[in-house]
């Protein structure tokens, strides 16, 4: 990691609210073109699905680089590498390369036979590495996402992690338009990538070796784009080629080659690392999208409309990020929703006596039975589609967002298990439930 990127992360790492300052910083910088000072150039940002703008407490040691989002910024000196030469691992040069500082990818073939692809410096690109490892070769440390943001209790067993320590790398052109591409696997402490015996690997038409990582790195753009079809997940190889998905996640047979698609990241692209999903927002989108400030303004506007609990006739309000809902003063004002009908209430104890179903409550407004959960605002600006709004909530978690946002995410399939997909709430990664996966909120107002 270079100085500039490090500084950037340190600068906003003090109060546990990284997103606010960071996005502000982007606006202040006003990076419009390459005319700006090089080190201010922002390539884009990666945001992990399932975190609502910040990580839960804990993980202090890793806090500096383990975050819910990461801004890719031009590095002080080019850090990209590109394939250069193929060697037999058993040859002298092959062994030298593996043992040297030079970047290389080793492909273990059968019975200890291996080839080494030597990588050379590429002065035209910057490389960003992503993985679970805390070592300095990783720019953005990503841990397995626990749905529901309930990490605090979990002494999350790293043994159980499915994310690779050196999971993927992103190579960005240092010159505009700063095209970013994703590649499977990252270089380890000694600048090597070793593809194990079980990982699929092959020699392609140009006689270059290529392979997949054990659990694979998948790429998808929900809206599609010039180099990809909408909604369809692809697997990206170590060399950045595009393949169809394997029959199940980690079998050794690679998927079909896909023509005419690429590993270029477009705004909205999702990268699945098998355990965490990263959302790519382009530099242009970062300038356009909502910020924590605009979302907070929306929150204030919502509170100013004085939504009421139809039972207690009390005024409800959504707390700001600094006053989290645990305080007893605000608990009376905490909005709750019935997930089936969307009627918003304050916390109350009434339930219809004749509809006593376990885990379900009867809505006083429409007498439909459903679960009754607290609402919390979606605060991560990167997950919003269009303008900020608080008209809908994801089911079953109760994260509040705009109609466009909930309708967008409920149709995005996120890989789940070996061969399944599910829609999730981007703010907490809980799988969506019910027919739609969201509900329109119905507020009562002081008439």
């Amino acid at each position: 990691m270079t100085e500039t990127a490090e500084e950037f992360l340190d600068g906003d790492g003090k109060n546990g609210q990284p997103k606010a300052k960071r996005l502000k910083a982007i606006e202040d910088v006003g990076m419009t073109s390459s005319d700006n000072d090089d080190k201010d150039t922002i390539y884009g940002a990666l945001v992990v699905l399932g975190y609502n703008g910040s990580l839960p407490d804990g993980d202090q040691l890793l806090k500096r680089r383990h975050r819910s989002s990461y801004v890719l910024q031009k590095k002080g000196s080019p850090s990209g590498v590109q394939p250069f030469k193929l060697h037999l691992a058993s040859s002298n040069t092959g062994m030298q390369i593996v043992n040297s500082e030079a970047h290389s990818v080793s492909y273990t073939l059968s019975r200890g036979n291996a080839v080494v692809v030597e990588y050379s410096r590429d002065p035209t690109t910057d490389m960003f590495q992503i993985g679970r490892s805390a070592d300095s070769k990783i720019d953005f440390v990503v841990m397995d996402t626990v749905p529901g943001n309930k990490r605090s209790d979990a002494s999350q067993d790293t043994q159980k992690s499915t994310i690779s320590r050196y999971s993927c790398r992103i190579i960005v052109d240092r010159t505009p338009p700063h095209t970013a591409r994703v590649f499977a696997a990252g270089f380890d402490k000694s600048s090597n990538i070793f593809l194990g015996e079980k990982a699929p690997k092959w020699q392609n038409e140009e006689n270059m070796m290529d392979g997949l990582t054990t659990n694979g790195v998948l790429l998808m753009n929900p809206k599609g784009g010039p180099s990809c079809q909408p909604i369809i997940w692809r697997e990206i190889s170590v060399c950045g080629n595009v393949y169809g998905l394997r029959k199940t996640r980690s079998i050794t047979e690679k998927g079909k080659t896909v023509e005419g698609e690429s590993n270029v990241l477009l705004d909205g692209s999702l990268i699945d690392l098998c355990g965490a999903v990263l959302l790519w927002r382009s530099a242009e989108a970062l300038k356009e999208m909502e910020t924590l400030d605009t979302i907070d303004q929306m929150r204030e506007g919502l509170n100013a409309s004085r939504p009421q609990c139809p039972v207690g006739l009390t005024t409800l309000r959504f707390p700001s990020q600094s006053e989290q809902p645990c305080s007893s003063v605000s608990s009376n004002a905490q909005p709750y929703v019935y997930l089936k009908c969307g009627h918003v209430h304050g916390l109350h104890s009434w339930n219809s006596p004749d509809k006593n179903v376990a885990d379900k409550r009867t809505c006083p407004m429409c007498l439909q039975a459903s679960s009754y959960v607290p609402l919390s605002l979606g605060r991560e600006p990167a997950f919003y589609q269009g303008d900020a709004g608080a008209t809908h909530a994801f089911v079953p978690c109760g994260h509040v967002s705009s109609e466009e946002t909930v309708k967008f995410w409920q149709q995005v399939p996120i890989p789940h298990g070996c061969d399944a997909f599910q829609a999730i709430c981007p703010f907490c990664a809980q799988p969506l439930e019910g027919e739609d996966g969201f509900v329109k909120l119905i507020f009562s107002n002081d008439e």
Partner: protein
């Protein structure tokens, strides 16, 4: 108002007084803010037109988790109201929801005057009459309304006289 009265009851009372429902008057008792004196004007084009019906409404301790207790004080010939003034209305029983309010309850009772429901009776004889001969039932209801109304007028003027006499001799 008495201390310890839930905020909800205070708010409901304030609004009932500030924005009364047309045809309905509800006033809390001076000494018990949970007890309301209510009067509902008989809706037009019903046999109750011209009458003014007194009710009492009490908010039990569990209100709004439990329904208010409402009773007609004025005699009324209606299939869903019995001799004691008790009202057969689902929202006062199993269909109660805390999202309902005093206002909505009284509106529902007003609506019940416009739309008697003899199929779900409380006063069986009245309901029977309603089913057998609706016209006659309506006539009876009109008759009762007139009598009650006149009695009320007499009562009001008598009590007015009494008050003014009291005032004179005090």
């Amino acid at each position: 108002m008495s201390g310890g009265l839930p905020r909800r009851i205070i708010k409901e009372t304030q609004r009932l007084i500030a924005e009364p429902v047309p045809g309905i008057k509800a006033e809390p008792h001076e000494e018990n803010a949970r007890y309301f004196r209510v009067s509902i004007v008989g809706p037009r084009e019903t046999p109750y037109c011209g009458g003014k019906f007194k009710l009492e409404l009490f908010l039990p301790e569990e209100y709004p988790m439990a329904a208010p207790k409402v009773r007609f004080m004025t005699k009324i010939y209606h299939p869903n109201v019995d001799k004691l003034g008790r009202i057969c209305l689902d929202i006062l029983k199993d269909k109660w929801s805390p999202a309902l309010q005093i206002r909505t309850v009284l509106l529902s009772i007003q609506a019940l005057l416009s739309a008697p429901n003899p199929d779900d009776p409380l006063a069986n004889d009245v309901a029977e009459q309603w089913k057998v001969d609706e016209n006659k039932a309506i006539e009876t209801a009109k008759e009762w309304t007139r009598t009650v109304c006149q009695r009320q007028i007499v009562h009001t003027s008598l009590s007015g006289l009494y008050k003014s006499l009291c005032a004179r001799y005090q």
